[in-house]
């Protein structure tokens, strides 16, 4: 059996919410092909490594980020997606809280946050990976507690709402949102503390609860 040799990589769509924008982690490629162009972080899977382990390792190597959530997204294997050889990549989606610009890693020249809006021209087929990742994140906010993955360990209802608004690109009613998330059992656990900010009434602080699904879902209407 002459099974043609494939290379297998993992690529990462790392999303966060920074200053009211949905941002993705990009690295600038230092080697051909697509040298000097932006790309998603990623790399080859090692001989004795599971796919998920490879994703975690690449994320740590290239960014050193604290990850809030990591899941497999999809695989992409068009024959001509890499001009060098046949490469199948297993894309992963990571959601992380807002963090300072990650440090440059070993493989890549520099890692930086870039707003997703209007972004294009990435290396390989990474435009598509990014689009699929963003769509997955948008969809999952509807029926899961994944919005909290964008938040720090302790956060307010307003912070969580801002996450939804930024990811969906749509304003939500603060009162209805508050009723929904505080009314769902197991979603949020109050810490008992409050915040003080520049103005306005202090808000209750919560941490993620044990619930991971939102039943019934929080639907984004077409409005």
């Amino acid at each position: 059996m002459a099974h043609p040799p494939f290379a297998v990589t993992v690529d990462l769509v790392v999303l966060t919410v920074r200053s009211d924008e949905l941002c993705v982690l990009l690295v600038r490629r230092g080697v051909e092909p697509f040298a000097g162009q932006d790309a998603l972080p990623g790399g080859f899977v090692r001989p004795d490594e599971d796919l998920a382990a490879a994703a975690v390792r690449e994320l740590a190597e290239e960014t050193g980020l604290t990850v809030g959530h990591l899941e497999q997204l999809a695989s992409y294997g068009a024959p001509d997606r890499d001009p060098r050889q046949r490469v199948v990549t297993v894309a992963h989606l990571a959601l992380v809280p807002d963090q300072p610009a990650p440090t440059a890693g070993t493989d890549a020249e520099a890692a930086r946050w870039a707003p997703v809006a209007g972004l294009s021209g990435l290396a390989f087929d990474h435009d598509r990976l990014l689009a699929d990742g963003v769509e997955r994140a948008r969809a999952k906010l509807e029926y899961s507690a994944l919005g909290t993955a964008f938040c720090p360990p302790s956060f307010t209802v307003a912070q969580l709402r801002r996450v939804y608004e930024v990811v969906w690109g749509r304003d939500l009613d603060p009162r209805n949102f508050h009723r929904k998330v505080t009314g769902t059992p197991g979603l949020l656990e109050p810490t008992g503390e409050t915040t003080t900010r520049d103005g306005g009434r202090p808000a209750q602080l919560y941490r993620r609860g044990s619930a991971d699904t939102l039943h019934p879902p929080l639907l984004r209407t077409d409005a």
Copy 2:
């Protein structure tokens, strides 16, 4: 760069509803490893072939089935999942209408339908692929028009409801279900014809409409 050679395969979780049971297409392996054991159909991706194309080809080769829906499920690449060499498989989920037992293909000795309930002991990690595929199908019935993929081109509301009941393992109220699916615009298109069966009032025949999502979703409650 010595990238270790991987083999890449596609495996198929082909589901259908037969005689009030959710069934999966299995083949009996003729070669080692796991010779004589049941497995999901699948095979190696060819050098110039896209992943989706490979899935379609394998499905046609091994079964000759008419496919109602095909989508990528997930990828599995544990280092020891194949004792021969490092293999990453891209699992796909196919939903097909009830059809006679498929003909044996080239690679496999025989293909047959097996009820999913209580099924285990498949080759490789196919138990997990199957479980993930079934769960994906169950979840997708909630918010998509995918239930029609299990139905022939022309079908009744009761047939579609039976699909939901079998996949979810839970009875649904015929009147509420009827109201829901006929009330969702674009989901079903009436053909104008009716059926006659052994007993009972003849039913309207419908075909799939243009809608592919169900808004609002049809939730399976925990009851």
